[in-house]
Subunit: 555 residues, 2 copies
């Protein structure tokens, strides 16, 4: 793309076709701007892997033209990939104070703090990055400092919503009045690129204040310990936990590393000013049970998080007992139903009361429902609507909603689509390479690399390795050895002997000349072993044959 | 247990603490009675495995005293383990005609048809099995011939509900009037052992008739093909699909093996008498799109089922296109959210309308909600309530509901609890061995066998095998060979060389005497390889070292 190129381009590398790992790019006049750089949590499709990232290859190749990474807010699906991918595109980062504090933590952990230029943007006023003039617009979300970005270019203005909702009482941060959004609409927005997460909710998102009031009611007069679990990043909800503690005469204790990390960042940037004194864990254990509120991580049932640990009585100081209450002030993220179900069962078996969003009003979302989206479109009135931050069905439903709201031009993007935006509308003009990376051990590798496929296959079918030692003339120099991984046999010794027999019979049947060729031996033995596994056990394992050919010193 | 033993015992081996794989036992006067023998579908905790069964070891040991297996109905979680476990306890089986037809199919497939005594029980009238007098009581459920069992013994009468709901218009089978259940209650029920699946639904289950009416309305005047997917075993729903086709002037085609199998069994036992003529697949492809209704399997997103195949355009004759409609007349079973979400996305991306139970009234459950349970307890008035067919939290909530309904004695069982039942109540008196089996390939093995653990570990961490060939004196006879499975490296050749170096350095450091001992060499090499994987990649793979020791022919 040349400097003289007047086009305005949009390219999502992550987040368009999935909920998670948002990475969006804009281009104008030969320069690129990155918005967010997030990760996803891996599901069972990636065994042994926790984190998934977008493949940044496209922007890595263009990194000389990359002006900066502007971060909308501090959720992992917007900042989580930064420490793992930053070396691939090395650019300055822009974020507001709380978000910057979280990014700083990550950079420090990755040893990148001295290398990355991290610019802290105060909330007001535009700043310029080459041909882009960027203004942070504070919007309510389920963390502190949620923002949309107003991105002005010579070709028109983009309103990139980030993650948002309408909340008349967000408890944390400013309230964004409709007048401000209407004024923005009056200036003329070429395209609104926006959050589709909750487009299937016909209502509005709801308010943090109403959750606070409900939680106080639910906790009042309750016997036993109360555990409140939520995403640590939800600063308003943490603040609410403090208010619940005060209103119910309970002391508060915080469990979980991210709970500590977020409250530290929040306090350092001016939030949680009225939060009550936090007990340390040992002191908390001495407080009467009905005077304690435990605020902890683990609302998705994560096995190593604080909640799962206290639930299975694996915490040094704090335990739960009959008549205690655990409140999940959180959503059940799709894919976590089974692991959360196990946790609910464990708690119920110990006669601990479990309250989730299915039982009582203990949670509101941070994403716009249909009512919020309609309001937003009525105020912004963009020329074009481009839904992002959703799976295909979310994006399609969002585009339909925008159309109903009077937005004539809509475009449903997919990761890798290079989209030109102008007064004629938005259209795909090209494709960028696109994919996923996983953090496997401490290596970032492509998600479709052989390591993942091989592990997946071994997990399904098992794996057999045979070691065959041959004389130079093709005779066996020793009995073959076998390593059998994960095959279903109730008589491993007998099965081992069967494999050995299969191996030796297959070799016996080879012509002497064939046995001189390692590849031939390898193939014959591999086929024989696999055939035996299939016929004897009904499994189809991977088979590796390691051939050692001895050198005949006599010649 | 002796013949003189007058106690009445209940022992669940499966289904108490889980939804799936029901296997319940009753004992009296030294004899055992089995009720149901079901399976579960495996989740990702058992990679490479589809089916899970209860461990029948306890009853296998008592099989001489086992009078029979009485089957309540034909769902897989009640009959699915029969072909896989029957050889372990070899007893006669009792079932009503439709259920027996399904069992017959399974036995034939397993080659057991000639060995198993399968008694077809007509719907009315009690039959005796030793000290047990058993009466089938027809109750509505989401398949044909759902039944509770009235089990009379010298110690009192058990009402084993099976899976049930109240349905004023079940469409298939008789309506069970409350008067009949009240009359049963009047005779005096010692214990009701019953379905807890839907105890968290505050309402009643709802009626098949109302789903039929709703589906007809939804399908009327719709353009394009309509695909209706549901569990094939839901005969009333299949009948409804036929009625929808007739009411909307569409021809019907059936896709999926179990759809064919169930309709065959249903027609053979007197159901689906008014079902319209079924087109074959090729003929169906020539029918105008708005004149075709496709009834198919795959409502849980199963990858190999008919729906997933037509969705990804992988069917010989039938395809979907923009403006077609897919109706999921089914529940989303917990754990299937992600795979179903992928299917919804695929369909939405092709502009196919998707209607699920979240969007419209297209499904009712086959299990009792709280309203149904309260009615049932008011009619049966058992002395004791024993909730089964649920996870721990379901059983606990069901027991609490029974208590509220005036049942003073409740007991929450767990698989393996041997429970004595008498006028004093129900109490655990002992424990039976309990566990799970999996069908892995064609082998039935314990779910906690090393094969599963090894595969799980390999899927997370990878696996390395080294072959080391040693002279008798401990010198390496050839360069070690390595098989590396599933390790995350972008440079496999370099990593292979690093492993080789680690292997050789470790051996070099061994004392000559140590090298004479295979176990020592194995351990040293294993530790060296594992350490390298950890330090280089951050992975902790399993490592197998295969040692071949050459015999020195000179001595």
């Amino acid at each position: 793309m040349k400097k003289s190129d007047d086009r305005l381009l949009f390219l999502p590398l992550g987040g368009s076709g999935e909920i998670g790992m948002n990475l969006n790019l804009y281009a104008h006049k030969g320069k690129w701007l990155m918005v967010d750089c997030g990760m996803s949590f891996a599901d069972d499709h990636f065994p042994g892997v926790d984190l998934v990232f977008p493949d940044p290859t496209f922007i890595e190749r263009e990194k000389d033209q990359l002006l900066g990474l502007v971060v909308t807010h501090g959720h992992e699906d917007h900042i989580g990939a930064i420490p793992h991918l930053w070396r691939r595109f090395e650019c300055p980062i822009y974020a507001t104070p709380f978000t910057a504090a979280l990014i700083t933590d990550k950079l420090a952990e990755a040893g990148l703090l001295d290398e990355v230029q991290l610019h802290i943007v105060e909330h007001d006023g535009p700043f310029e990055l080459g041909p882009f003039t960027i203004t942070y617009l504070a919007l309510a979300h389920s963390t502190a400092e949620g923002h949309g970005l107003v991105i002005e270019t010579g070709k028109g203005t983009i309103f990139h919503t980030g993650d948002w909702k309408l909340d008349p009482n967000p408890l944390i941060g400013p309230i964004c009045p409709s007048s401000k959004l209407e004024a923005l609409g009056d200036k003329g927005i070429l395209a609104m690129v926006g959050d589709s997460t909750n487009v299937f909710n016909p209502k509005n998102a709801g308010s943090e204040l109403s959750v606070r009031e409900s939680l106080i009611e639910i906790c009042k007069g309750r016997s036993g310990r109360i555990v409140l679990t939520t995403f640590a990043s939800n600063v308003a909800r943490l603040d609410t936990a403090g208010e619940v503690a005060k209103a119910t005469g309970r002391h508060i204790v915080l469990l979980g590393r991210s709970m500590q990390r977020i409250t530290k960042a929040a306090k350092a940037t001016g939030y949680l000013k009225n939060f009550p004194k936090v007990l340390d864990e040992e002191d908390a254990s001495h407080i009467p049970r009905n005077k304690l509120l435990i605020l902890c991580t683990g609302c998705q049932g994560e096995n190593r998080a604080a909640l799962a640990r206290i639930a299975r009585n694996d915490h040094k100081h704090l335990t739960l007992a009959a008549d205690d209450t655990v409140i999940f002030s959180s959503k059940i993220i799709p894919g976590n139903e089974l692991v959360l179900g196990q946790l609910f069962n464990m708690l119920a078996s110990n006669h601990i009361r479990v309250i989730t969003e299915k039982d009582a009003f203990v949670h509101v979302s941070g994403h716009p429902g249909q009512a919020d989206l309609k309001d937003m479109y009525s105020w912004i009135r963009p020329h074009i609507a481009i839904p992002v931050h959703g799976e295909a069905r979310h994006l399609i439903a969002h585009a339909a909603l925008a159309h109903t709201a009077g937005i004539y031009h809509t475009l449903v993007p997919a990761n890798g689509d290079i989209i030109e935006i102008d007064r004629e509308g938005a259209r795909k003009i090209d494709e960028a390479p696109v994919g996923r990376m996983v953090l496997d051990g401490d290596q970032v590798i492509p998600a479709d690399s052989p390591a993942m496929g091989d592990r997946r296959r071994a997990s399904q079918q098992g794996f057999v390795t045979a070691s065959v030692v041959l004389e130079e003339d093709g005779e066996l120099a020793a009995e073959p050895r076998l390593a059998v991984l994960g095959l279903p046999t109730n008589n491993p010794d007998i099965f081992y002997d069967q494999l050995l027999d299969a191996c030796e019979i297959a070799m016996d049947r080879m012509k002497p000349k064939q046995r001189l060729n390692d590849d031939s031996v390898e193939e014959v033995v591999r086929i024989a072993l696999r055939r035996l596994c299939r016929s004897t056990l009904g499994k189809n394992p991977g088979v590796a044959v390691l051939i050692s050919r001895l050198e005949d010193e006599q010649y």
